[in-house]
């Protein structure tokens, strides 16, 4: 028995050796270089030892097998040669594993991702627990890279080309049962029976014929054009999904498979390592890995004030059963908690329940959820017309119509029906939280939350603390948001909070472009090409001019940077151009598809005709956002540049491959941005004048992310 930096070797009396991964001081196992070296040493020793009948590879963690390579190590690589060398090292060790003279069984319980999956691929047998925590996948493409420890080679050989493509290109994780179905694991058993099952495989030592050796696969391996057909089908699907974003990794993976599937393994491994080396240094990989960091940091600390300790939330309630209220209630019910949903009349209450049911039913249709799950979740939403049951509630989310007076009245109602310890949150996208909370008897337990629409799809929640909100309340709300599997970001109570304020700066500038005479399809196309999920005018149509004009009005009153844009939105709202919801906005919608509307010019009344280049459109609309973000940092709306980036990616779909708004700004250079803004300010108006923070950063030659 011996421990070598997180690897323990346990010799059993029956000639079985257990190799146990257990990274010290960590919640999950990662394949750091040190661990890999220790593993190699361990294998070398065992290979030369007599009397060993088999090897089990297991984890000492509770719900984790191996989470993959260490992202931080990849981030520190500065040349593609280093990256390629690192991949070669891993490949060599896993090839050593694959060539062990005795059978090796992987005992998989918990998450098994990336390098972990590549490790089990090099084992003789893979036995997995049926626990829901057991997930197997190759998420490398999500970090802008590809599997580099043999994953692109051993996976298709084991499960066949099409299953391998599905896993490598999407990065999705499989449950044990699904992994068994495609032949990625050999057996699935309850966790208690794992060691015995793995030993049985070693004792029986059967010869397996993997899916990758079936006749059809043979054809894919031998006949290049046939292989190309499968690959090009996958490629088409991929292009549709990524819509032209700069995501080179999955395409590179496709080319590797086209080139290597059916060929020599060693040759294939070399191709794989070279590709990884190149990809690891791409801006996309750097950005996606930085985003990964941001995400995990945000989970640890969403920007909480000092001294707040979250209190347990056992029972929750939602007041207002509209689209937002129903979505929030459903999210809470999904966490397993009972949630009371109150509205003033039967019809809105029924509509809210229908909305929740509709979302779940569509998930059932897409096989994302079982009927039983639908039934159980719906049963946790308790419709009510009165405040009955509210005395026992720990957390109320008010989600009534966005009207200051109404929200105040409801806040008072809620306060008189709950215990003094109950946390009360108002859900709003634009109303000032402090103003609503002015009427509160206990302002310390009152705060704002901003769920994005549609709640079940949007992962971000802004948590808005007023000057009077107690730290425990912020911590409790953040914890609750995490529990319903969303990402909290704590912001200060300034109009528009973070996301809408930035978004409005961008949309406002797009509207100015329109007034100056740019074609709206041209503007949309430029920003879609930049990577935004939809252009500004399609986005405005999604939001609806009624809502957008109201938000714009609020923000303009607060910051006064776009009166003419607000007026244009109000004019469109008055012309009943509400957008997608009534089929008429900047575009006309026919069967849900946008088509340009020739009449829009009569409403906009452009000053002339301009044809700005795509690049110019992007700078013109994105730099005001950067500028506004700088002001947000000055005003401490959020504390960290990372908050801005995460907020924009999760809240607006800002292209992840660009790493976020401020990382994009760093890429352009702050000095250059300041000059651009100064020019634009002189041309288009003072609203574009660079923020003080940007000027200071230029003087001190600093970036948002040093």
């Amino acid at each position: 028995m011996g421990t070598l930096a997180g690897i323990e070797k346990i010799r059993e009396a029956d000639g079985i050796v257990r190799i146990r991964f257990d990274s010290p001081d960590a919640r999950v196992n990662t394949l750091t270089e040190r661990i890999l070296m220790a593993f190699q040493e361990c294998l070398e020793e065992l290979a030369n030892e007599a009397g060993i009948r088999g090897i089990l590879i297991e984890s000492g963690k509770t719900a984790n097998f191996i989470a993959g390579a260490d992202v931080r190590e990849i981030q520190t690589l500065s040349t593609s040669l280093e990256a390629e060398t690192k991949a070669r090292l891993g490949q060599k060790i896993f090839s050593r594993l694959a060539a062990m003279p005795v059978p090796v069984a992987a005992v998989i319980h918990g998450t098994c991702l990336g390098g972990g999956t590549e490790l089990i691929l090099a084992c003789t047998y893979r036995i997995a627990s049926d626990d829901p925590s057991t997930r197997i996948g190759l998420p490398e493409v999500r970090l802008g890279i590809i599997p580099g420890f043999g994953g692109t080679q051993r996976l298709p050989r084991l499960v066949g080309l099409r299953s391998a493509l599905d896993l490598i290109l999407t990065g999705r994780e499989l449950r044990a049962s699904a992994a068994l179905r495609i032949g990625l694991v050999d057996e699935v058993v309850p966790v208690e029976l794992l060691p015995a099952a793995a030993r049985r495989w070693i004792a029986d030592h059967p010869v397996r014929r993997p899916a990758g050796q079936r006749p059809l696969e043979r054809l894919f391996q031998r006949i290049g054009p046939l292989r190309s057909l499968v690959i090009s089908l996958a490629e088409r699907k991929l292009r549709e999904k990524l819509k032209g974003g700069d995501y080179p990794a999955p395409f590179r993976a496709l080319r590797i498979l086209q080139e290597t599937y059916g060929g020599d393994l060693d040759q294939g491994l070399r191709v794989e390592a070279r590709a990884l080396g190149e990809l690891a240094l791409t801006p996309t990989a750097k950005n996606l890995m930085a985003l990964f960091d941001l995400n995990s940091r945000q989970r640890r600390n969403p920007g909480l004030p000092e001294g707040g300790k979250a209190r347990p939330v056992r029972r929750a309630a939602v007041v207002g059963a509209g689209i937002m209220g129903a979505g929030i209630a459903l999210a809470i019910a999904g966490k397993g908690a009972q949630v009371r949903m109150k509205d003033v009349a039967v019809e809105p209450l029924a509509r809210g329940l229908r909305e929740a049911h509709r979302i779940l039913a569509s998930q059932v249709r897409r096989k994302r959820r079982t009927r039983r799950d639908l039934r159980d979740r719906m049963a946790r939403i308790q419709p009510t017309l009165s405040y009955s049951g509210f005395r026992c509630i720990d957390f109320v989310v008010e989600a009534v119509f966005e009207d200051l007076e109404l929200k105040r009245r409801i806040l008072r109602e809620i306060e008189s029906n709950v215990s003094p310890e109950c946390l009360i949150a108002t859900n709003t996208s634009s109303l000032p939280i402090g103003e609503i909370g002015r009427v509160a008897d206990h302002p310390g337990r009152f705060l704002g939350v901003h769920f994005f629409n549609p709640v079940h799809r949007m992962p971000l929640v802004e948590i808005v603390a007023t000057d009077r909100t107690d730290p425990w309340a912020v911590a409790t709300a953040a914890e609750m948001v995490k529990e319903i599997r969303k990402v909290p970001i704590v912001v200060r109570d300034r109009p528009g909070f973070l996301v809408n304020r930035l978004l409005m700066a961008y949309l406002g500038e797009a509207l100015h472009l329109l007034e100056e005479g740019a074609e709206l399809t041209r503007v949309d196309r430029a920003l879609e090409r930049f990577g935004m999920p939809m252009g500004p005018f399609r986005l405005l149509d999604q939001v609806g001019m009624d809502v957008a004009s109201r938000v714009a009005r609020t923000l303009n009153e607060a910051y006064g940077r776009g009166e003419s844009a607000v007026e244009l939105l109000e004019k469109l709202a008055a012309a009943k151009r509400f957008g997608v919801k009534n089929g008429k906005g900047f575009y006309l919608y026919q069967d849900g598809k946008p088509v340009p509307d020739p009449e829009i010019d009569q409403l906009v009344r452009p000053q002339g005709r301009i044809r700005p280049a795509g690049e110019e459109i992007c700078l013109r609309t994105l730099l005001p956002m950067v500028n506004e973000a700088a002001r947000c940092l000055e005003e401490e709306v959020v504390g960290r540049p990372g908050d801005v980036d995460l907020g924009m990616i999760l809240g607006t779909g800002f292209p992840p491959f660009r790493g976020g708004l401020l990382r994009y700004a760093d890429g352009i250079g702050i000095g250059k941005i300041v000059s651009l803004l100064e020019v634009m300010a002189s041309r288009y108006g003072e609203r574009m004048a660079p923020a003080e923070l940007l000027l200071e950063m230029t003087r001190r030659k600093k970036n948002f992310f040093s």
Partner: protein, 429 residues
């Protein structure tokens, strides 16, 4: 009898009662029971983890949930550490649930118990006849294909006709009469005419309709939102506004075609519904500052001949009154579950009959006169329906709500149960 610890009802609510095979057809006993518990707890502002036990009455066990109470309790968010069980005493099931809970609280074994009943008469399954069951069983045992063919050749078209478990359940296996026939026995024995029965039925509808219009019933009802459209059902479906004597008179007797008097119109309706009550020891209620709806003063159950099962109230009420140390004259409000008009009317006669007291109860004095003006003042099961496992708790709930409204000090809730039993509760404010 003065209970060791006084047991109070701190809250209660029921689902609307809906005729079987109507809108609740697909809702089922579990969901109805869940809604009743959730709303009862919420309206009492009681946290689910304050509950020590759950006891529900249910007769037609859903095949997928044999101990239906446990399934309901978990669905309602009651902590899994809280035990739950189901009692079956036919129509007296939920009265028995209340009695059992009261005993546990009196004995200091529990502080708060959620009781009630749930019944989905729509979901009572169809069964294969015994003949077919035998064939299917043999088929399963058969080894060879030939043997299987031989067995299958014994199947006849008549075998396709299922046995309606509901009909079977409503037929007494001891005396062989179905429940309606036992009502006919009472009608004959107590000379109750068809017209008297119809008049009683009409009154039940009129009172229920009035109570519904005045919003009295909705005070005890939690609406049920029906998926997938989630249209709410907020009212009982049974009470008929336009009910007339003429319409009742047109109905044919169901149970004895030729000479009978019991019709669908003067019998209770087959119904889906659930009721939940929260029982607490008086001291715990005070500690949690839970307002009391009323307290249990006494209760009793009694057995009698199955063929006259409808007289259950007349057999059980005297013991309950004795235990309360009260004469019937002190009771200000009475609920007798209306299984059949003939059956309630028979009890009214029996209560006031010295002969009945002497011969059947071995008492020298009659139980007492029932004043029709205090009997089932908001209608009864003929109008509202009779979800068998839930009705006992329903009459206790309805009684308590009306006692509160009228500030009546003492009330009686009593019913008959198939198989020849009766149960009676004396309640006090």
């Amino acid at each position: 009898m003065i209970p060791a610890k006084r047991v109070v009802v701190v809250g209660g609510v029921r689902t609307p009662f809906v005729k079987a095979w109507n809108v609740f057809q697909e809702v089922g006993a579990v969901e109805l029971g869940r809604i009743a518990i959730v709303e009862a707890l919420a309206r009492s502002e009681l946290e689910a983890d304050q509950v020590d036990e759950v006891i529900f009455g249910n007769i037609a066990q859903p095949p997928g949930a044999p101990n239906v109470t446990r399934v309901i309790a978990l669905a309602a968010g009651i902590p899994r550490s809280v035990p739950a069980f189901t009692v079956n005493q036919n129509c007296a099931s939920s009265l028995q649930a209340i009695a059992t809970a009261a005993q546990r609280i009196e004995a200091g074994l529990a502080g708060t118990i959620v009781v009630g009943g749930t019944e989905s008469m729509s979901s009572i399954p169809l069964l294969w006849s015994e003949e077919v069951q035998k064939i299917l069983l043999e088929l399963r045992r058969a080894r060879s294909v030939l043997a299987r063919i031989r067995i299958l050749s014994g199947l006849r078209p008549r075998h396709l006709k299922p046995v309606v478990a509901l009909e079977k359940g409503l037929t007494d296996p001891v005396c062989g009469l179905n429940m309606g026939q036992t009502a006919e026995v009472l009608a004959r024995r107590f000379s109750i005419s068809r017209e008297e029965q119809d008049r009683f039925a009409l009154r039940s509808h009129q009172r229920a309709v009035r109570a519904r219009e005045q919003g009295l019933l909705s005070e005890e009802i939690a609406p049920v939102f029906l998926p997938p459209g989630y249209a709410p059902v907020a009212d009982d479906i049974g009470p008929r506004h336009q009910q007339t004597m003429e319409a009742l008179a047109r109905l044919r007797p169901v149970f004895e075609r030729k000479h009978g008097t019991v019709t669908a119109g003067n019998s209770c309706q087959l119904t889906d519904g659930a009721v939940a009550l929260i029982l607490c020891s008086e001291e715990k209620a005070r500690r949690l500052r839970l307002p009391s709806l009323g307290a249990i003063r006494s209760y009793a159950f009694a057995g009698l001949a199955p063929e006259v099962m409808g007289l259950g109230p007349a057999f059980s009420t005297p013991s309950a009154l004795d235990r309360a140390g009260l004469p019937l004259s002190r009771i200000g409000l009475i609920e007798i579950n209306e299984a059949f008009a003939a059956q309630v009317l028979a009890n009214q006669i029996a209560f006031s009959s010295r002969k009945f007291a002497r011969e059947e109860l071995d008492r020298s004095e009659p139980i007492g006169e029932i004043d029709p003006s205090i009997l089932n003042v908001n209608g009864g099961a003929i109008a509202l329906g009779h979800p068998v496992g839930a009705s006992g708790a329903r009459i206790v709930l309805t009684l308590l709500k009306e006692m509160r409204r009228r500030n009546t000090e003492l009330g009686l809730a009593t019913l008959c149960a198939g198989g020849g039993q009766g149960g009676a509760f004396v309640m006090e404010l």
